[in-house]
Amino acid sequence: MKHERLVDILQSLSNVMSTSGDESEMRRALRPLLAGQVDELRVDSLGNLITLKKGTGESQLRVLVTAHIDEVGMMVVDHTPDGALKVQAVGGIDDRLLPGLNVCVGKEQLPGVIGIKAIHHSSSRERLKAIPLKELSVDIGAENRKEAQRLAPVGTRVTFSTQAHPLGELIAGKAFDDRAGCTALVALLHEEPFPFDLYGVFTVQEEVGLRGARVAGYAVAPAVAFVLEGTIADDLPKKEDVGPTSQIGQGPVLTVMDRSYISAPWLLRYTVQLAEKLGIPYQFKQPGIGGTDAGAIHLTRGGVPSLTLAVPCRYIHGPISLLKPADLEATITLTSAALRHLTAEQLANN
């Protein structure tokens, strides 16, 4: 896929509101992008968008590639007498990032602001402290509780309202975890058919416990699975020489072991050897950190050798993250190569 088109898809998907458990907007955004590129498309009972791209028939393998369509955000849980919304986090959100942010409320995308008392009213000590989310509220300009309840009833989703845009060599936007992976999966599904049937699954509820992938993995019952992600790049200068987890510009980030699973060593070795051979940059994610849908998928049925390939993104789970399109492109190239060279013999021999 052309660079411009790829960046365009990434930016448009980044702007979509799709917090865990309410991913309908992402499904709606994906359908036209997938039209004509897949042979089957269905939505399962949890909301996973399951597509099948039929293979050339050369290989009988059944391969799963996933990316999650949910993002971290917030949910309305109560209303104050003066018309503000009380919210709780959906997925892992850093309370320190919230005060003063613009947010988007509900399907109508009402603008909201996370209010905080004026600097004039806060002591210098208060200003040094993070305010927990439960003490913050979202102001949508409602007059009173009744109006707030009408505009944003309990259960309404709240997301960051960032619009994606280029930033020098980088792209800035919200929810690159995992719109980066979604973009990569869309690009893969636009390619020529693979030797085998490829199930491209856009999963739900990853951020709240790898839930969609668990049932999708069961339904697809693949022989091998690849999980496409946006992961933590913490490559800015540090006080101590103990990191980074990954770095922007160094290519796809391969998981060896995280908190949710251990990559099948043969699959990892195979992918690394391909990257070396084809001159595609790659890096290893610092082990022991985070988890991905592979954690759920590898344990389905009789077990599924799995590997996560991620695009390094700075400031994930915040209102604005940064990535380098070259990393996204290299992630697609490496995943595509790994898929196209995969054979049933490799599986049998490992």
Binding site: A223, G243, V256, P265, Q286, P287, G288, L299, G302, G303
Partner: protein, 326 residues
């Protein structure tokens, strides 16, 4: 006691997810006695004994993996930072040696600490492979390593790294030879990734879909200075699991093991373990549920590089299981 085999088993390199060397070793020893042998997608080794068609379908599980560490960063001076594979405690690490798959050895030590809390954090430890700078380090981020400690026999006691759960693997290897006349369809499951969350046993139990499952693993004892109350003593016989923090043993499985102990005239203990669990916990909840239990080998200093078991307990466990499966 086949000390040679146990030495090979305990000294083999096999941190969770990287059990291939242990698997190859076990494969060699069970192949002559198994009717079928297969390795599944998560690396579990399954040795099958065909029954006479009138018995039950039973899984016996021992995990091949051991705890270890994995490199998470190589700094400019050539020191390695690491994360844990399974339940690794910082206090056990200091001064320990680790070995990587390529044979590289490293010493784990502790950086100077400003805080004087008794237990350091894992992030305050590093591995020294004797390198002078980053480029001189033979291993990279993502490389797994295991602790180094030989097997020693002292009287009836056996001391080594990785007795959790190579002792269980040893028992199953010996057991397979003794149950050649068993009427049951027996699946000797040498499982992977137990220490990181009972992962291998879960998928293997799904594909085998047995009538019953028994894990053979180690359990802690209450017979050391100021130990937490625990009615299990080293040398007093294998421990039949009543419950642990991950599962309640099925009463029928527990009774089967108690009856077998009486029949085989071997001493046994009953085990209630407060913290920790075994592959049986994962197998029990597979598919529509599988009646499961466990036979535990009493073991001191579990998850330290020097675990200690009693060889009589091991011999009695084999007798007990052979009687249960006869």
């Amino acid at each position: 006691m086949n000390l040679g085999l146990l030495t090979q088993l305990t000294q083999a390199f096999g941190p969770s997810g990287y059990e291939d060397k242990v698997r190859a070793l076990i494969q060699e020893h069970v192949a002559p006695w198994a009717d079928e042998l297969r390795t599944d997608p998560l690396g579990n080794l399954i040795a099958y004994h065909r029954g006479n068609g009138k018995g039950q379908k039973i899984v016996l599980a021992a995990h091949m993996d051991e705890i270890g560490v994995m490199v998470s960063h190589v700094d400019k001076e050539g020191y390695l930072r690491f994360t844990r594979i399974g339940g690794v405690y910082p206090l056990h690490c200091i001064g320990s040696r680790v070995r990587f798959a390529d044979g590289t050895h490293g010493v784990i030590y502790l950086e100077h600490r400003e805080d004087t809390s008794p237990s350091p954090k894992l992030t305050q430890l590093y591995i020294d492979v004797g390198a002078t700078n980053k480029d001189d380090v033979p291993v990279s981020v993502g490389a797994p390593a295991v602790f180094v400690r030989p097997l020693v026999q002292q009287g009836e006691r056996l001391i080594s790294k990785a007795l959790d759960d190579r002792i269980g693997c040893y028992i199953l290897i010996e057991l397979l030879q003794q149950v050649q006349d068993s009427p049951h369809d027996l699946y000797f499951l040498f499982s992977t990734q137990e220490e990181v969350g009972l992962r291998g046993a879960r998928t293997a139990a799904f594909s085998i879909n047995p009538d019953m499952a028994i894990a053979v693993d180690v359990t802690i004892t209450g017979d050391t200075p100021k130990a937490l109350p625990m009615a299990v003593t080293l040398g007093d016989g294998p421990a039949i699991k009543v419950q642990d923090s991950g599962m309640i043993a099925h009463p029928k499985v527990r009774q089967l093991l108690v009856d077998a102990a009486r029949k085989a005239k071997v001493p046994y203990q009953l085990e209630v373990l407060r913290g920790g669990t075994t592959d049986a916990a994962a197998m029990q909840l597979t598919r529509a549920g599988i009646p499961s239990g466990a036979l535990s080998i009493p073991c001191r200093y579990i998850h330290s590089p020097s675990e200690m078991v009693d060889s009589e307990d091991v011999a009695n466990a084999i007798k007990l299981l052979a009687a249960a499966l006869a």
